[in-house]
Symmetry: C2
Subunit: 415 residues, 2 copies
């Protein structure tokens, strides 16, 4: 038996919620209930209301007791999108982490599980180091979650497959809507720094090309990622070329597109924007980027026969991360990474991030492994060059990578 | 046997597509294949590309031959969202209808089926009258379709239940997203003149109330329909009251909200807007109304403790009408109204709109009946007073009406 400290366990959820973040919560609880709690090392399993904020509330106001939560209730929570404990956008600095540690000591928390992105991994890292420096034994576990798919070490992150499934289904239906009435359709997709979710729009393509020229792609005809410098002139030329050939054009655009200097396009088109706690202009929850690109096309496109084309933009917004129906692979893996963190805790591990590694693509198989917190914390993974084709498309390698993650897709037919 | 004319049949799809409009197309084709085509009265079944526009193309350029389309292909088309034949926004006037009649004579079309809203019913009416006046026997059939649910005579219209299902699922997930991070969330829903689809957001409510006060509604906390005069001041007061109590507020807003004078709110908040062929400002395909309401709240809300709340808006856009997964009831009924139109044609009927009538609510049952074109054409059905509660909610009577239409909903759980 490893040398294990006895105390309470705390679990928090952080950042933008996903459709499967509660699967990870359930996985941790289940893993503790059958592991460290059963063996007596964990006395109480504490859910933190709104992540680390729950630790900073006076008394135990920010706590939900999950020690004896029943299997049925836990399953129902696992199948529910968004963070059941509540989430937070707080990105703790050294002083904030000091307060977290103080609260952990006060409440005898010896196991700290934080489900989130690279900021949450960093919180785990700082708190873990502070605890060690203070001689307080606190074992910290980061459990990955982000629809952006931008964590290093992971083949992909829980939450991404379900969001990718939504984006795919949306583009499948929307492409046919666009085909029925013609014109130019712009879809804005989440992902400020990484274009994985925008790239997932490509899964909407069937095997067949679209239109007269055999080389034509099926919709989405154009895909713009934050990893590829965005030029307004090139964008207009791309759109005009597709529209001239087909009389329509479906375009998938990441909210995070940037110019050659690395400056975001959105704030320029949006005028003054709201700035969040991280100093970033608010991109989601506003249709301004889509409307700005629409205006660009309306004004900039040389119309065929003098008639301005129909131009529409949809900003996918929050629905893409909390749609109640998930990718089955995603639900299973999100549960597994949580459970695995509890298993690592029972083995005496500490200061660790659980990660997902793909071991086979056909048939698809992945497994949970461990990584050091520092390898995941703060750093951002981008869409790699082998997934990017030219300035406005993705490669078949990306489709091979992404397709097993999203689950069965409906078979659509055209006349 | 009724006295039936022999010739070709033409089928068109018109207006904004829906997720089940191809079910109606399949129903008509199936009904003709086993009815009038089998008996020899219908020689060819012609699909019209982009509705009546297909009739105006030179030669038979706008035609798709569906006479012998196979069962498997037809089923695959039926299960595909959006108009497989293509659609049109054209609203034919007398001169346009004269051209339609000329084309029908030229191509020996004796049966004309038009799947669409009240404008399409009107096209059927005008063309039918012109044909009679010209002594040309042409039997016209309107088959209902609109996510707006705004056709008279119908209990509800095919396309509405699937869109209502999308709006419901979106609000279920989004309510939990809003709960996890707090703040104010505004969702803009389609329906310029009728608020049925916006009202469907109410189905996202569970049986339980939300928050401390037992009288509090579950989210969406506020619902604004075009049928109820919208006041900016009242809106701000409503939002402030919910936000003060709960620290969050989910709001469902119809794109067609108007002030007490009947003037639309959107153009005022949007500045200059695009005007469509019907003389209406473009509401869909733009996030401007949501962003305008967000700005109103950000500027107008008296903040608790001096901090401006997090305010986000999503405009549901085109995904709500072409999501690939439909309501099973909707798919079945959309098929049935199309089939019924072909049956009426075989019985010698003419100048008719097929309608859906509910015959029982528990268990839910509906059946197809006939109505005169003039009873459906051009006129708009609004949300009736018995479905409206005060200035910002709907009644249980609406939920009783709408719930059987949308199919099974996921069971979500909260901690």
């Amino acid at each position: 038996m490893p040398d294990l400290v006895t105390g309470n366990a705390a679990i928090g959820q952080s950042g933008g919620p996903t459709a499967v973040i509660n699967q990870s919560l359930a996985g941790i609880v289940e893993g503790l209930q059958t592991g460290l709690a059963a063996s007596g090392q964990v006395k109480r399993i504490i859910g933190l209301r709104h992540g680390v904020r729950g630790l900073l509330k006076p008394g135990a106001e920010g706590f939900v007791d999950l020690t004896t939560i029943g299997k049925d209730k836990l399953e129902a929570i696992a199948g529910t999108p968004s963070a059941a404990l509540g989430s937070t956008r707080d990105k703790p600095d050294e002083a904030y982490c000091e307060k977290i540690l103080t609260s952990c000591r006060k409440h005898e928390i010896r196991y700290f599980f934080y489900i989130g992105g690279n900021d949450s991994a960093d919180t785990c890292r700082i708190v873990s180091e502070k605890a060690r420096a203070a001689g307080y034994e606190l074992r910290c576990f980061h459990v990955p979650k982000t629809i952006d798919n931008d964590l290093l070490e992971n083949d992909h992150t829980p939450g991404f497959p379900s969001a990718a499934r939504y984006v795919t289904l949306a583009h499948m239906g929307d492409a046919l809507d666009n085909a029925s009435l013609g014109g130019i359709k712009i879809n804005i997709i989440m992902g400020r720094n990484a274009g994985f979710l925008t790239a997932a729009a490509s899964l909407a393509r069937g095997g067949q090309s679209d239109g007269a020229a055999p080389a034509d792609r099926s919709p989405p005809h154009l895909i713009y990622l934050p990893e590829v410098p965005f030029s307004t002139d090139a964008f207009l030329a791309d759109v005009e070329a597709v529209y001239a050939r087909l009389g329509r054009c479906q375009i998938a655009v990441s909210e995070g597109i940037r110019d050659a200097k690395g400056e975001e396009i959105a704030p320029k088109l949006m005028g003054t924007g709201e700035v969040d706690a991280h100093g970033n202009v608010q991109l989601s929850g506003s249709g301004a980027l889509g409307d700005g690109l629409s205006d660009l096309v309306k004004k900039g496109l040389t119309p065929k026969g003098g008639k301005t084309p129909r131009v529409r933009a949809d900003t996918f917004g929050y629905l893409q991360r909390c749609w109640p129906y998930t990718s089955p692979v995603d639900a299973e893996e999100a549960r597994a990474v949580g459970h695995f963190a509890a298993e690592l805790a029972a083995k005496g591990d500490a200061a660790v991030s659980t990660i997902l590694v793909r071991t086979s693509n056909a048939p698809y198989r992945a497994e949970c492994r461990r990584a050091d917190l520092a390898a995941v914390a703060r750093r951002t993974r981008h869409v790699p060059p082998e997934f990017i084709a030219g300035s406005n498309d993705i490669t078949d390698a990306f489709i091979d990578y992404c397709r097993p993650l999203v689950g069965d897709l409906p078979k659509l037919e055209r006349l």
